[in-house]
């Protein structure tokens, strides 16, 4: 009886072969059966112990303090972790592609840059020249235009005055010639009349 573990048999802790061996022994041995009956009775009595209900239910509210941090949730989430791994792999591939791309010849890049620089410099120089001119004349843009218009008008007025003077000179010359012809005709007529009539 000493090698029979009745309590392990009672608690269902024996392997199948050992369980069968104990069952067979119980069939044969009345003393062993009596002892087993006492153990069964003790276990049955323990089953009379009643559980108490909780005085109040235990429940958690959604409190941020007890919630797992973002990285704990992240590590606990298989799909998120998988997506992050895929994203990291894609990033690595793009990075590798970028770093190993064919490099353009240096001279071509220089030409392109020179044209752009020239354009930019020209625009900048033009802007700065205008600024300097405005500062020197200290005249606003609108006044410069007005002065240019006045200058043109004055030139036109000068031209008209020159033409008027030329016309006046012609008129005077014509009148002088007419007067000289009249005087000449009168002198010729006086020479052709008889002496008593002059």
């Amino acid at each position: 009886m000493s090698d029979i573990d009745l309590k392990a048999y009672l608690f269902g802790e024996l392997a199948e072969e050992e369980r069968r061996r104990v069952a067979a022994q119980l069939e044969k041995d009345p003393a062993l059966r009596a002892e087993y009956a006492r153990l069964e009775q003790t276990q049955a009595m323990l089953g009379f112990v009643q559980d108490e209900e909780l005085p109040r239910r235990i429940a958690f509210v959604s409190d941020k303090v007890f919630e797992p941090s973002w990285w704990q949730r992240f590590l606990a989430s298989g799909p998120q972790l998988g997506f992050a791994s895929a994203a990291l792999l894609a990033l690595a591939m793009v990075g590798h592609g970028w770093l190993s791309r064919p490099v353009a010849p240096v001279m071509q890049a220089a030409k392109f840059d020179e044209a752009v620089v020239r354009q930019v410099v020209a625009a900048e120089v033009s802007q700065r020249m205008n600024d300097v001119l405005r500062q020197v004349s200290n005249v606003p843009n609108s006044d410069v235009k007005t002065a240019q218009l006045i200058a043109i008008a004055m030139k036109q007025a000068e031209k008209r005055a020159e033409l008027d003077r030329a016309a006046d000179r012609l008129t005077i010359e014509e009148n002088f010639n007419l007067l000289r012809r009249l005087i000449s005709r009168d002198q010729v007529a006086s020479y052709q009349r008889p002496a008593g009539e002059r």
Binding site: K7, A8, F11, E13, R38, L39, Q41, T42, Q43, A44, M45, L46, G47, F48, V49, Q50, D51, E52, E53, L54, P55, R56, R57, I58, A59, F60, V61, S62, D63, F66, E67, P68, Q72, R73, L75, A76, S77
Partner: protein, 192 residues
């Protein structure tokens, strides 16, 4: 057997993702067992309730440390064991409430006074009193085996004690209970 629409492992995985509602459902499945386990150790309802609350809070905070979600039960009971014995070590002598009179008189038997047939409630009180005569570690082993139905290996895991020690404690305790409960067993034989 009660059919469970959602398994504990699903609720554990949901809890790990921060779903407090899932954890509340998990608590509702386990709170009564944990409360009664703790209550039989500390024998004080207020302490038992506080400890139960602490157990579930600790379990929630350490949910990610649970390696095998299928072993949630033993893991939860280990937390309960650690919390309970931590409290008992702090102030053990002044916390006796349940069945104190019977338990504190080792010479008396819980079945001597009545003489007649024991009702189930009386039997429950008597057996509880008999349990209080055991050493705490023996009582705890009996509770984990008989009331909670854990295997020897699981009890060893919960108490962090070798299986051989668990078996020794349990067998000794059972022999003691068998002797103490023998008179009631005779009456139980009449009752049943």
């Amino acid at each position: 057997m009660i059919f469970r629409e959602v398994e504990d492992r699903d609720l554990i995985l949901q809890t790990r993702k921060g779903k407090v509602e899932a954890y509340n459902l998990l608590i509702s499945r386990w709170e009564k067992r944990i409360y009664n386990y703790v209550l039989r150790l500390v024998r004080n309802r207020e302490d038992a309730l506080d400890l139960t609350q602490d157990v579930f809070m600790k379990a929630y905070q350490n949910m990610n440390k649970l390696d095998d979600v299928e072993r949630f039960g033993p893991w939860l009971f280990r937390i309960a064991h650690n919390e309970t014995f931590s409290l008992l070590r702090r102030h053990r002598p002044d916390r006796v409430e349940l069945n104190e009179a019977i338990a504190e008189d080792p010479g008396s038997s819980p079945f001597e006074s009545g003489g007649g047939r024991l009702l189930p409630l009386e039997l429950s009180v008597a057996v509880t009193a008999a349990l209080t005569r055991l050493k705490p570690e023996q009582r705890e082993t009996v509770m984990l085996k008989v009331f909670e139905g854990f295997k020897f290996e699981e009890i060893a895991e919960i108490l962090e004690t070798p299986v051989s020690t668990i078996k020794s404690r349990l067998y000794t305790a059972f022999d003691l209970l068998k002797d103490v409960l023998a008179p009631a067993g005779k009456q139980l034989g009449k009752t049943v």
